[in-house]
Subunit: 169 residues, 2 copies
């Protein structure tokens, strides 16, 4: 799929078929995530690939918008390692760029995915840290539900010239 087409047609997909997602496909998505730029090239990310049905079913008890996990074959928790960042706060931006790369790669590979916000909301951060047994220096940023799409969505129109300024505001 063409790069601009992937960017422009990617949508949040919350319904999935039964088709399994191979480890090879997961590796391609994770590679794409790790190709993101990061402050000082610190690459402060970790990824928890969740396929365990028991864990997937427990997540909605700590995340109110994750009911689609019931039909998702897997989810990937994108985490930031505070020990790996040089400048405070940049891990959020680095891991967000990695998350966006992962979403685009999923779409380009024919999968559907949705970004579920976690950090900085306390209940979600604490709950996912417990469920996935993260160490203290690692924070969960975002959870991505992934599967082959069982819904289609049209390309949206989001271009808004009122958000564009020239030289100064």
């Amino acid at each position: 799929m063409d790069a601009l087409e992937a960017i422009n047609t990617r949508r949040s997909i919350r319904k999935y078929t039964d088709q399994p997602v191979t480890d090879e496909t997961v590796a391609k998505m994770l590679n794409a995530a790790m190709m993101a730029p990061s402050a000082g090239n610190q690459q402060p990310w970790h990824f928890v690939v969740i396929r365990d049905r028991k864990i997937l079913d427990e997540i909605p008890t700590v995340h109110p918008y994750s009911s689609m996990l019931a039909s998702a074959p897997l989810a990937i928790l994108v985490c930031g390692d505070l020990k790996l960042q040089k400048n405070e706060g940049y891990w959020i931006q680095d891991c967000s760029a990695a998350t966006q790369n992962l979403l685009l790669a999923a779409h380009a590979l024919g999968l559907g995915a949705v970004w579920l916000g976690v950090f900085p909301l306390g209940e979600r951060v604490v709950g996912l840290t417990r469920i996935t047994e993260l160490p203290e220096h690692v924070l969960p940023l975002a959870l991505i539900a992934i599967g082959y799409p069982a819904e289609e969505k049209p390309q949206p129109e989001r271009y808004d010239i009122s958000r564009i300024h020239h030289d100064t505001w």
Copy 2:
């Protein structure tokens, strides 16, 4: 350019040719940025397209790593509008996803670009807010220097299985 190829071959480009970047090409990059997902689809972003040579030359007085702007035909300041976010803190992730889309679109269009971190470093935030005359409810997240590339960089190897965990840490 193929989507996965764009993701995997994008690099930070800091040297640019004299070739001008058309408004049409800038619009394609901004459209890509605005196609990013955002929390609650709030799209809390603004973009300041800076072509004014005087402004480009002033930025290095407030941002220590922006000397490449001397040869860049333009830069885009990605900003977050605090009035447009529902959940506190999500604007950073939303605008980071938009920034990553913009970088990928630039690369796919044959341009080179580099993400210069701004937020949350005080001097850079205050300086760029002053120089681009941002209102109080808008914060500069990242500055992207853009131009046709005058340097080539090989595809890096960043895949690191030690960053991948299964089901739990």
